[in-house]
């Protein structure tokens, strides 16, 4: 085992501790023990999180499955008749699922463009004093409890939507008037409720776009509008996608506000129909449900849980693709 040009191996110091009197194999120092302890605590906390997610998943599955097992997946997921308390009960939740999907999609289509333009306005165009008013207002909007949105929806939105309904269906013999408590109202409330999340997340994404990209675009003679729509927004895409997905999550899971403004009948999700969402079905019926009915409500919870999981997996996938 020769090292060095002369083939002679030399050790500079004969003591194992070297010149400073420190051995690399010496007992771990005090700081190192603190490091180890801290690491253990972090690991423990992380494990708690995993445990929480795992047990929630298990619990939801364990309670959501029995109704499916008893009634059959077809009967519960793909049938549209929901009569849980009838003499001959029926537990089809198809309309409820469709309502949640339609309500969320429409709220996103309505809310996201408004939110994006607001974020663009805040980052690119707003004079400082105006931005200083708008930004706290948006943060406040995020902090308002959802039930308050519901109350305001009842007071303000429902009458307006009712007027629209009366105008659209004037002279109609067949339309069941909802008094404004319908899918349209719910969509409008949801669209407003997702605004703060989508605005602030996409604003952060827009701000993170390097100043030099903007400068390079302008230096080529592009206008500000061209720069915003062709450079800044595409560059902020991953963040904007995240914002939209978070908005979807918020809209799918919203119960209180929607419960107050959407009427509550199980119905085809059409704008002027009184409708029931996955969330509002659980909230409004759990109080008196028992037996199979109760189990069916847990199945609804499981479906909702599945949607949220799907949204999150989608988010992960998109973000990973953007990176790679």
């Amino acid at each position: 085992m020769d090292i060095g040009i002369h083939g002679v191996r030399q050790t500079a110091h004969n003591t194992p501790q070297g010149r400073l009197g420190l051995s690399v194999t010496e007992k771990r120092s005090h700081t190192q023990r603190i490091e180890t302890a801290a690491e253990a605590i972090f690991t423990l906390c992380a494990c708690c999180m995993v445990f929480a997610v795992g047990s929630i998943t298990l619990y939801m599955i364990a309670n959501g499955i029995p109704a499916i097992y008893k009634l059959g997946a077809r009967e519960i997921l793909f049938s549209s008749v929901w009569k849980p308390t009838a003499a001959d009960p029926s537990f089809g939740i198809l309309y409820v699922i469709l309502t949640s999907v339609a309500g969320t999609v429409l709220a996103i289509f309505l809310g996201v463009p408004v939110a994006l333009l607001t974020a663009v306005f805040l980052t690119e165009a707003a004079p400082r004093p105006l931005a200083a008013v708008v930004r706290p207002a948006i943060e406040l909007l995020a902090g308002i409890p959802s039930v308050v949105y519901g109350l305001l929806g009842m007071l303000v939105l429902n009458p307006l939507v009712y007027r629209l309904e009366q105008w659209v269906f004037r002279g109609s013999q067949t339309h069941q008037f909802t008094g404004g408590a319908n899918l349209l109202s719910a969509v409008l409330v949801l669209a407003i409720m997702i605004l703060p999340t989508v605005i602030s997340v996409s604003e952060t994404a827009l701000r993170a776009v390097p100043e030099q990209l903007r400068a390079s675009s302008m230096a080529l003679g592009a206008s500000r509008i061209q720069t915003i729509f062709q450079i800044i927004l595409p560059a902020a895409r991953p963040g904007i996608v995240t914002a939209v997905v978070l908005g979807v999550g918020r809209a799918v899971g919203e119960a209180m506000a929607v419960n107050l403004v959407s009427g509550g009948c199980v119905n085809v999700p059409l704008p002027f129909c009184s409708v029931r969402f996955l969330t509002t079905a659980i909230v409004s019926e759990m109080g008196y449900a028992e037996g199979l009915h109760r189990q069916a409500l847990f199945t609804i919870g499981l479906v909702l849980f599945g949607f949220i999981m799907l949204v999150n997996i989608l988010l992960h996938k998109i973000l990973r693709e953007e990176k790679g």
Partner: protein, 252 residues
């Protein structure tokens, strides 16, 4: 003898109350490389940006004096900044391709100026990449994302992107200071090629680089131009004491 392309007369620039350029009077010759040197914070970038009016983007900037491009005052009312920036292109210190394909990066400028014809765009893209000496490396991956290129390639891509709108002047703000020595030399070679048909103004921290590539050199100090002239004379027989000190390495 090249004629004068850009002429600044008694140019002053203020960032709010801060007087960043003080009575700068200087000529920049056409089809030559002019190097701007000086310690950090002396106003080189600020001066460079007055030439394509990029300072317009910063709030609270006030400018007095004149900047003329081919004898036309560029701060006069009624000047179209878009056209000005088209004629005076700019490359920044950090290579910063847009997050899109190589092709779209080059085509971006022509497109915002209204070019839609696919064949014309193909032509422009190839010509610009060739001029920036990066065609061979990119011709097989035009549709690939530009951020996947190496730093030196990205910087040449940015030069190609600036060339795509057919500018007459190219402003470069320390274009090689984020690059390794080999990539830097390639950019220098490229600039020597380009000066045959473009007026080039380059800010550089590196005096050897100024000597290697520039025809004229201007020395900035605390917002003023201490001295400017032919590069050979500038470095061999500086007229000003402060220039001498700077060349000798007595300033930061």
């Amino acid at each position: 003898m090249n004629c004068i392309k850009i002429e600044t007369t008694d140019l002053n620039l203020y960032y709010g109350n801060y007087h960043a350029l003080k009575a700068v009077t200087m000529d920049i010759r056409a089809d030559a490389v002019t190097a701007l040197i000086g310690p950090s914070g002396c106003g080189k970038s600020t001066f460079l940006k007055t030439i394509n009016r990029m300072n317009d983007l910063i709030q609270g900037v006030r400018i007095t004096g004149r900047v003329c491009l081919d004898g036309e005052e560029i701060y006069a009312p009624g000047v179209d900044v878009t056209t000005l920036r088209r004629r005076v292109g700019m490359v920044f210190q950090q290579p910063n391709p847009f997050p899109m394909s190589i092709y779209d990066n080059i085509a971006y400028g022509p497109r915002v100026h209204g070019e839609k014809n696919k064949n014309r765009l193909d032509e422009i893209v190839e010509r610009s990449l060739r001029r920036a000496a990066i065609w061979e490396e990119t011709k097989d991956r035009l549709k690939k994302p530009a951020p996947g290129l190496s730093g030196g390639q990205q910087q040449r891509l940015c030069i190609a992107r600036a060339l795509a709108v057919e500018p007459e002047v190219l402003l470069l703000d320390e274009p090689t200071s984020a690059l390794d020595p080999v990539s830097s030399l390639r950019i220098e070679e490229l600039l020597l090629q380009l000066k045959k048909s473009y007026t080039i103004v380059i800010v550089t921290h590196n005096m050897q680089q100024a000597v290697r590539i520039s025809d004229d050199t201007a020395f900035f100090l605390a917002g003023t131009v201490v001295e400017w002239g032919r590069t050979g004379q500038f470095f061999s027989r500086p007229r000003d004491r402060k220039t001498m000190d700077y060349i000798a390495g007595r300033y930061g």
